[in-house]
């Protein structure tokens, strides 16, 4: 049911509520790893999942809106990382186009593609975009921002690989497979 122009209504609602979920999990859903100040952020699993389900624009906007609001509700906006979150959502959405998860098709191939997509997206977002913008905007020391970027990116890849895949598989199981009905003779 595409609306006359632009996003479908479902995409808009998915962006809004997806970003709300992202914010709530940013606040309550992080797991400390034991290393000070480094948490496993479960909200990035949600970002990847929603980008997979609702496409690149939803991914971009959930990343931007969710991260902005989460930052505003905790310690104020840190723009370089907000933009990086948006880029991650956008790339996951773009690279997973064509996975027909809504038709219940998310087998080994789909899982592999989803994970390659998320690794590429997280690598671009956290190893490149976030640190470079940190340097451009805040003139922060390069070795610091790249260390932070690699730590955050690495952990996000792990969390999406585990939780994101798990959630996507569970979702695909709730969908009826296309052509699953057979005619009885």
């Amino acid at each position: 049911m595409q609306s006359s122009k632009g996003f479908s209504v479902k995409t808009i609602v998915a962006i809004g509520i997806g970003a709300a979920l992202f914010v709530v999990l940013a606040r309550f859903g992080s797991i400390p790893t034991g290393i000070p100040n480094t948490n496993l952020q479960t909200n990035y699993a949600i970002l990847a999942l929603f980008a997979l389900l609702y496409g690149p624009w939803a991914g971009l906007l959930i990343g931007l809106i969710g991260h902005s609001v989460a930052d505003l509700l905790s310690f104020g906006p840190w723009f370089s990382w907000i933009i990086a979150s948006g880029v991650v959502g956008l790339l996951v959405g773009l690279l997973t186009r064509g996975i027909r998860i809504h038709d219940g098709e998310f087998g080994g191939k789909g899982i592999l593609r989803f994970n390659i997509a998320q690794i590429v997206a997280n690598a671009v977002g956290w190893f490149v975009v976030a640190p470079v913008l940190d340097i451009v905007i805040y003139a922060e020391p390069a070795n610091k921002v790249f260390t932070q970027g690699f730590a955050a990116g690495g952990m996000n890849i792990v969390i999406v690989a585990i939780l994101g895949t798990l959630l996507a598989v569970a979702y695909s199981k709730t969908r009826t497979k296309r052509g699953s009905l057979t005619r009885e003779a």
Binding site: M1, S3, S4, G6, F7, S8, V9, K10, I12, V13, A14, I15, G16, I17, G18, A19, A20, L21, V23, V24, L25, R27, F28, G29, I31, P32, T33, G34, L40, T42, A45, I46, L49, L53, L61, I65, G66, V69, L72, L73, S74, F75, G76, F79, I137, Y138, A139, E140, P141, A142, N143, K144, Q148, I159, I162, L163, L166, L167, A170, Y171
Partner: protein, 276 residues
């Protein structure tokens, strides 16, 4: 875990009576200016100004105290990290070296480093008061219409207001599921090992995500039934015309940003160098 997220509360101050569009524009202007410039004088002036406006808005302290603590912790850690990773960054930027206090090995406290880190702190601090003001002193239903007025497509603006609307609901749902799971012995606390904790978090996320997806279906069906998104434009229940006061504030904000840019780039560099 009952930490309340920031909430709107009308103190009746002149800031609260300003149009949402005005507050949003000032926030955006200050953010962009704060991001680009690195001139200490301008940043300081902007910070003093936005802090006094913040004080004027009479937002009660307990509404943002939690946020304030987080900001302090975050900035302290960030400052420490900068020093640990690059104790000579300031020397590199400003080109001179005034040693103050040798600490150990390659770590020597220099005046340049202190000044540089002060600038990083200022750049971050400048954005916080306008951001908080937009969040705390704008009626939530005016949010979306303000965003739409400054050029954000109305569908995106509506998505943002949906986010604000559904944060408390999703939070409640998360709490319910997590309490129910804990009652069944799924431990999320520090006592569990990391791998186990991750698995347990998955056990909470799964119903939460499936419930959220169902909620998305319901809300989008409701919106579609009401004909949302049919037209290229829409009107807003909460949208007021700009008053003269709004226009004055907007002009002032634009002037301040323009002056800050001019002063900063007068000598062709975004840094202000007091060491030359």
């Amino acid at each position: 875990m009952a930490a309340k997220l920031l909430a709107y509360f009308d103190t009746g101050s002149p800031i609260h009576r300003l149009n949402g569009v005005t507050k949003l524009s000032v926030f955006l202007l200050f953010s962009v200016t704060g991001m680009v410039i690195y001139d200490t004088r301008c940043l300081l002036a902007m910070l003093v100004l936005s802090l006094s406006v913040f004080a004027w808005s009479k937002v009660p302290f307990k509404q943002y105290s939690f946020v304030l603590y987080l900001i302090l912790i975050f900035s302290a850690l960030n400052q420490l990290a900068i020093f640990l990773f690059a104790p000579e960054q300031g020397v590199q930027i400003y080109g001179t070296r005034h040693e103050l206090l040798p600490i150990a090995g390659r770590y020597t406290l220099t005046a340049e480093q202190l000044f540089y880190q002060l600038n990083v702190l200022l750049k971050f601090a400048v954005v916080v008061p306008p951001a908080l003001l937009f969040l705390l002193a704008t009626e939530p239903s005016e949010f979306a219409s303000s965003l739409n007025r400054v050029g954000v497509p109305y569908k995106v603006a509506y998505a943002i207001s949906l986010t604000m609307r559904y944060i408390p609901d999703v939070q409640q749902e998360f709490m319910n599921i997590s309490t129910a799971a804990q009652a069944r012995g799924i431990d999320l606390s520090r006592k569990e090992k990391l791998g186990r904790r991750l698995k347990n978090m998955g056990a909470i996320l799964l119903p939460l995500v499936l419930a959220t997806l169902e909620r998305i279906e319901k809300v989008s069906a409701a919106l579609e039934l009401r004909g949302f998104g049919r037209n290229r434009r829409r009107t807003w229940y909460r949208s007021r015309p700009l008053t003269r006061r709004d226009i004055v504030v907007l002009i002032c904000a634009v002037l301040i940003s323009a002056v800050a840019f001019t002063i900063t780039f007068w000598d062709g560099s975004r840094f202000y160098n007091p060491f030359l």
